[in-house]
């Protein structure tokens, strides 16, 4: 459990453009921990959308750029499980025909962490001094839970938030139906899946649903507001930073 000299922020494109408050919450968390931060301003996108749609040349180009921008970092932390899975699991595969880039990809992947993973496993923290009253349930996003195997860490952190009552929903790790381009290419199926997810959230009795992936949260929130359901949808970072709603 070592403290770094500097944490480099890898801010998912969705967070940068649509949910900057999540990035801000991350900054508050690290500031409270007195861990110096840096943010490479030239970062854009890890390439996942291209990869998921099959456009591997374009994804590889994004990968090379990411590696160039981030490989000098001591440690890289990102508020998105799917982006971290992209870097750790798919970058080496995309660049496997270039031994040098492949090695560099492996090296960058080994120091890229998802936020809850970093806080709980690397820093060994469980209590960040946060307060967030009410019943909350946690949604396991696919890449975080299955590809990265991260399920306990967010829960551990949530359990130590003061006044937060963590309730489990049924099928917490069933897909919410986002799937990137799937959500716009097959919208009816996608909505059917998110409806199931929302029904489970409602059944859990929670007032807030927390997740670690902005894509999932955007999908869940978008459908919830359309259905007129008044449950807060928040990123883990926002809850751990003190839970100020935007």
């Amino acid at each position: 459990m070592s403290r770094p000299t500097t944490v480099t922020l890898f801010i998912q494109c969705l967070v940068d453009a649509l949910f900057p408050e999540v990035g801000e919450a991350m900054v508050r968390i690290f500031d409270r921990l007195a861990i110096p931060l840096t943010y490479p301003e030239n970062q854009t996108c890890c390439g996942q959308p291209a990869y998921t749609c099959g456009y591997r040349h374009e994804a590889a180009s994004a990968a090379r750029r990411f590696i160039d921008l981030f490989e000098q970092a001591e440690v890289i932390v990102c508020p998105s499980g799917s982006c971290v899975a992209m870097v750790r699991h798919h970058y080496p595969e995309l660049l496997k025909h270039d031994p040098v880039m492949h090695q560099r990809a492996l090296a960058v992947g080994s120091k890229t962490f998802e936020l809850s993973e970093y806080l709980a496993d690397v820093l060994g923290l469980t209590d960040l001094g946060a307060t967030f009253p009410g019943a909350a349930t946690y949604h396991d996003s696919c890449h975080l839970a299955r590809t990265l195997g991260i399920r306990e860490q967010p829960r551990r952190l949530l359990r130590h938030v003061r006044q937060l009552q963590l309730v489990e929903m049924a099928n917490s790790d069933t897909c919410c139906g986002f799937g990137g381009a799937f959500s716009t290419n097959y919208p009816e199926i996608s909505v059917a899946l998110v409806d199931d997810k929302i029904d489970h959230i409602v059944e859990s009795g929670a007032e807030t649903v927390v997740g670690c992936d902005a894509g999932c949260l955007m999908n869940i929130r978008g459908r919830m507001t359309r259905r007129g359901i008044d449950i807060r949808v928040m990123h883990l970072a926002q809850v751990l930073a003190g839970g100020e709603r935007v």
Binding site: I11, V15, E24, P36, T44, Y55, Q72, V100, F182
Partner: protein, 492 residues
Amino acid sequence: MIHRSSPYSEAARDGMHNACLQKSLRNLQARYGKGALDIWQSLPDPGLRHRVKARRMQTLAHLDQLLALLAEGVEAQGGQVYFAATAEDANRYVRDLARKHGVRRVVKGKSMLSAEIGIDAVLAADGIEVIETDLGEFIVQIAGSSASHIIAPCIHMDRQQIGRLFADRLGIPYSDDPPTLTRAARKALREKMLTADMGLTGCNLACAETGQISLVSNEGNIRMATTMPKLHVALMGMERIAATLDDQRQLLQLLTRGAALQKLSTYVSFLGGPRREGDPDGPEAFHLVIIDNGRSRILADPDFREVLACIRCGACLNICPVYGRIGGHAYHSPYSGPIGAVITPLLQGINRHADLCRGETLYGACRDICPVDNDLPRMLAALRHKLAYGDPAWQVRPHNRLEALGFALWQRSISNSWIYEMLLRVVRALQRPFVNPQGVLDPLPGLKGGWTEGRDLPPLAAVSFRERWRTTLGRGRAQVPARSHKEQHHDA
């Protein structure tokens, strides 16, 4: 980019609106999907599936030798073996056999391979009566429909529909009581099974060591079809072979657990030839038809070879939320669910079944539940890769040139942060008239229309994270100089 009116989407919509199907699938998945995962998690030997997969891959690497051994074994028992390169070859062989033996009535055990090659129509064209004997298959057959689940074929029909169907087609008084309906089918089909000239089955798993095939069922129809008629023809996908009896045993045990949480199905039959001297029953002739029909091409591609390890248990169907909503008919294939989404394009055309390659979230539960550790999401991603740029080896054309252009432009924009930020600012400016009082975007046509039909879409934030960092968040911090991509020198 939006495939709203494709056969896939239309059939998916029908499935989603079929209340009976939805209820049945929900129950099925809650029970069998979770149940199978629990079984794997509580296996005394956690490395079992991994080892079994390794054996499957070794078996595939030796497939030609093992099939040759199997054929020798069957022939030594008095059976006959035909190697059919294509569906046409297989159909012709079986039709000629039926003609030679004066077959007028065929009873079938459930076989997806038989649906894949289309044997029913070929035999029917010769005036042969072909009867499905698995209750679910029988029901969809007389309803003129098709199976919507590998293990539970008529899951999309409710008891009232089946009651009306039986009243109409079997001439019994209307009833919607499952035991009554089952007894009616039992009686009607017994007659057929006892008077059929030929039994036509699939093959769950053959064994090279013993020269015998194994067949599983709970109903007993397969035992009937392989015991009472004079002729038994078994259709076998060429990859459905185990090297040793021990391999076969392990695979059967995984199959029955994955399919229906059973340690063993009610009946597991092993056979490899016709009746022997002194046997009072059993077929007089046994023909094993080993079928390629596109499998060797899959075998030759290291990216997809592992899909041939599949033992068709159906567990992936029981855990997939997409299948769980759209049902089997949307796949337009005898193979539905996650396995169907991979194998159907590979067997029948990747462009033709582009929706199957793209219509999933790559969630990953199917990989968790597969008893032979198959990585279906990886293969779906590989299929999408082929659709993106085309692939002459698989005769794939790029699937959507507009989308390809979109991503080419996307690549330009993300490789230069100045362009990227400029684009975001432009969109931010353009979106202003479309942001409604609730703070979300009005429903949009085109690109984002798919989203906004059912969900609210947030607008781009007024100030991005990058801008906030630049103006406030990042102030007063020790800056690491931004490395421009252009400056980067590559370590050789």
